[in-house]
Symmetry: C2
Subunit: 201 residues, 2 copies
Amino acid sequence: MSKEIDQLSAALARLPGLGPRSARRAVLWLVKNRESALPALLESLAIVSETLVECSICGNVDTTDPCQICADPRRDPRALCVVEDVADVWALDRAKLFRGRYHVLGGRLSALDGVGPEDLNIAKLLDRVGAKEEGGGIDEVVLAMNATLEGQTTAHYLAERLEPYGVRITQLAHGLPVGGELDYLDEGTLAQALRARRPMG
Amino acid sequence: MSKEIDQLSAALARLPGLGPRSARRAVLWLVKNRESALPALLESLAIVSETLVECSICGNVDTTDPCQICADPRRDPRALCVVEDVADVWALDRAKLFRGRYHVLGGRLSALDGVGPEDLNIAKLLDRVGAKEEGGGIDEVVLAMNATLEGQTTAHYLAERLEPYGVRITQLAHGLPVGGELDYLDEGTLAQALRARRPMG
């Protein structure tokens, strides 16, 4: 095998869900389908690689700025769902249950990992919620943190910070398995948790 | 999720070992690692896509023609290993046991799939073996077909066609599990099968 094929194999092996052996099989499959599948994958990857950008409003990653969700006029501008990660936006949005917009923190508070409030996308969240006073009009903030200790700590911290703004603050209903991460849940569980969301406190 | 990201997800989901869900996780991982891993993958893929070529000697696919194996002067020019597929070259060569060169048939005889001798890379194989008379010097042809019915039928057919050339014709030792495909075997089994190879007939 040539150096170039080895390097592709190594690059693919870094993807989650692929190990060295399955990456080799993937490369081989690409080699076999080099006239049909390889150009398509290359093109998709190039387009995404060139256009990927962080949304300046919510922190989601998309190929446009603002992202498709922030730019969608059919979205309810009064509801905001705060999540830890881009993965969580995708997971919730796949379930097609929440019709408001999102805000991505980019992590969670963690004493262990040395992540404090200043490391998260919180200032912009407060700006967005605060814009209510000038008619921005956010009525409800759903704190959709993971059901982990750090996620819940983050939710409580945010609830405290958001309290002065007088918006309705809710969190996902329990129904999430304890210790579970949002991004791994089936849509049924996500639906139940979102429907039964309840006031923070 | 934008159309572009969806398309990348779909392109990745076609890879063996990845389904729609794991492809989405892979895309997300690429999105998260868009500064480190994404450009590396893109570059590897582009290089391979541009340089991939079928070796005009043996039918292997590599980034050079002749392929690295055919071009390697340390390889024994007197031993030739005939395999069904490019995958088999890679599998055998990873085991680092065979120091000769390869010949890729590009399939196996199959009445069911309507694959006849004229559909396989056989004429070139006979040319290579026949070149012996002009000093090309192939002494042994190892028929390393899969241990399937069609693989073994192909091996017998090739043994018959090669008989007039007066070379030693061997096949991989049994030790391969019946019905097993070469590309899936561990190197230990491959090693045993290659070491115990025996005359065809």
